[in-house]
């Protein structure tokens, strides 16, 4: 694909996104809740699309396609388990987060832990854990875009230039009008992701495999068998299954729908998007395996598949991958900046004005973007380890989150110690490459974190406000959702 065509496509996409951001800025009010939660007044469709675009990163069209290419439909089980688990958890937790957000005027997911446990340190530890785990994950989005641009342009657009473009777009979309701009551009990008995938499916079905994909796969029956080992399946699936309650960029979105009905639309819209997008990505992986077997690097499967489709279609699909990367990255940047401001700075300076707090948070948006860029530019082997352990590390918030809503005896000391011990244990096992008894670090980490949480909580006193917090949230949920 020519450099000019690619740059023209990116320019068009960026212009449309910027227009949406500009439109969003016209409605921007003042304050933290306005900037980071769009004043909790987001409609059902936009909520569903921003949740989907934030969740589904460039991993889907590059990593999942490559995983399917190399290891068959085990990847479908992995990704479908993630989707179903997310919906299951949303039905239970979305009403509680939404209710707590309204009752206690919460801005970040970590702030809920501070409020519930009556200790700013619980939120601060959670925020630091998220910062450590998510900056590498966001950096990988930049790296993915950089590599893809370099490959598709035949080297005419360098890896670094590609990363600068993605970082610049992420910064503009998130900084300009906060969540109002991110949510609108996410919705726009989610539509691009789905439309491009459907167009590619049409081309594959009618042009690449006119005799049918099933027939072409008859020579590759191995891809339709479950070739994954159970420890591999568990190791990959376990952290992702709890993504909906452990990844702050998606948890924060549970605060934004304007009503109970719109919260439901968000869940159902995400369900539909996730199902279609997952099936399509797996089909692309199978199609690539049938059409071009023997690739040395499975992650190049999508790039190779795009080399066999007409340039305009390849451009649209490429833009959809870039949209997936940017929509994930700008959401992470926005959420991390709010967490650092609310859960770290505010914990250290409790008397800081909301105006100053917001100024610090906004200042952090370019700083985090630049940090991600330099992190990605180093191309360290460590980044791969850190990004792989991101979901596992974030999983260590699970005991504290479950305890916050469902266990009266849970304490701040239990929450803090479980996150610290679990996070260090998972990090150590990933860095050292340890898999005791053949199982992946997240399994051992969550067991350890859970045991520490229970033991320390039982040994310490729960905060005085526990009953009030739990009864207010449960009462709200019962009245508004289930009555």
């Amino acid at each position: 694909m020519s450099r000019t065509l690619i740059l023209a496509g990116i320019a068009l996409w960026f212009t449309l996104g910027s227009l949406l951001s500009w439109h969003a800025r016209r409605n921007l009010g003042k304050g933290m809740i306005e900037y980071f939660l769009a004043d909790r007044k987001v409609g059902g469709f936009i909520s569903a699309m921003t949740y989907s675009a934030t969740t589904y990163s460039a991993f889907m069209m590059v990593g999942l396609v490559g995983l399917t290419y190399s290891s068959g439909i085990g990847s479908l089980g992995f990704e479908m388990t993630y989707l179903a688990a997310t919906v299951i958890l949303m039905v239970i937790f979305a009403p509680r987060y939404w209710a707590a957000g309204k009752i206690y005027q919460l801005v970040t997911p970590s702030e809920l832990l501070s409020k519930r446990y009556g200790s700013p340190s619980a939120g601060a530890v959670s925020a630091v854990l998220c910062l450590v785990m998510l900056i590498p994950y966001a950096s990988v989005q930049l790296m993915g875009t950089g590599y893809l641009l370099e490959i598709l342009s035949g080297g005419a657009i360098s890896f670094t230039a590609g990363m600068i473009i993605a970082a610049g777009v992420s910064f503009v979309f998130s900084w300009w009008a906060g969540l109002r701009s991110v949510a609108l551009t996410d919705a726009f990008q989610a539509v691009i992701m789905l439309a491009a995938s459907l167009l590619l499916l049409g081309f594959i079905a009618f042009a690449l495999f006119p005799e049918g994909l099933q027939g072409a796969l008859s020579a590759r029956r191995d891809l339709l068998e479950v070739s994954w080992s159970f420890p591999l399946f568990l190791g990959l699936t376990l952290p992702w299954a709890f993504f909906a309650v452990t990844n702050p960029q998606v948890v924060q979105r549970l605060y934004i729908p304007s009503s109970v009905g719109n919260l439901r639309k968000m869940i159902l819209g995400f369900s539909a998007f996730g199902f279609v997008y997952t099936v399509l990505c797996v089909v692309f992986g199978l199609a690539a395996a049938a059409k071009m077997p023997g690739l040395e690097k499975a992650d190049n499967a999508m790039a190779m598949l795009l080399s066999s489709v007409p340039a305009p279609l390849a451009l649209v699909v490429f833009l959809s991958i870039m949209a997936a990367a940017v929509s994930t990255m700008n959401s992470i940047i926005l959420t991390l900046s709010s967490m650092f401001g609310r859960d770290v700075v505010k914990a250290l300076l409790p008397d800081i004005s909301e105006e100053s707090e917001l100024r610090i948070c906004r200042l952090l948006i370019p700083i985090i973007t630049i940090a991600c860029f330099f992190f990605a530019r180093m191309q360290l082997g460590l980044i791969a380890v850190l990004s792989a352990m991101a979901s596992g590390g974030l999983l260590m918030q699970l005991p504290a989150t479950l305890g916050a809503f469902f266990w009266k005896k849970a304490t701040a000391a239990g929450a803090v110690s479980s996150m610290v011990v679990g996070g260090i244990a998972v990090g150590f096992m990933y860095v050292e490459g340890l898999k005791p008894l053949g199982h992946w670090p997240p399994l051992w980490g969550i067991l350890l974190s859970g045991v520490v949480f229970i033991a320390v909580s039982l040994a310490t006193k729960p905060p005085l406000d526990t009953d009030r917090f739990l009864s207010s949230v449960e009462g709200f949920v019962r009245d508004r959702f289930w009555s």
Partner: protein
């Protein structure tokens, strides 16, 4: 937790077991593609049903869409 939520948790446990046991045993050689698609679709449709009471709540609250 309400009764409906408890039923949802119980349903989720059945899903979690079936989602792993069936593909890794009896459908290991063939059929997992269809199975995983179907069982996920069942969970998503169950989600539509279990949250059906949430629909239209905004009207009662007088909140904007």
């Amino acid at each position: 937790m309400t009764r409906r939520e408890k039923l949802w948790v119980l349903f989720s446990l059945f899903y979690g077991i079936a989602n792993v046991v069936v593909p890794f045993t009896i459908l290991k050689k063939a059929g997992s593609f269809t199975f995983w698609n179907l069982i996920t679709a069942v969970v998503l449709l169950a989600g539509v049903w279990v949250t059906s009471g949430w629909a239209g709540k905004a009207d009662h609250e007088g909140e904007g869409r």
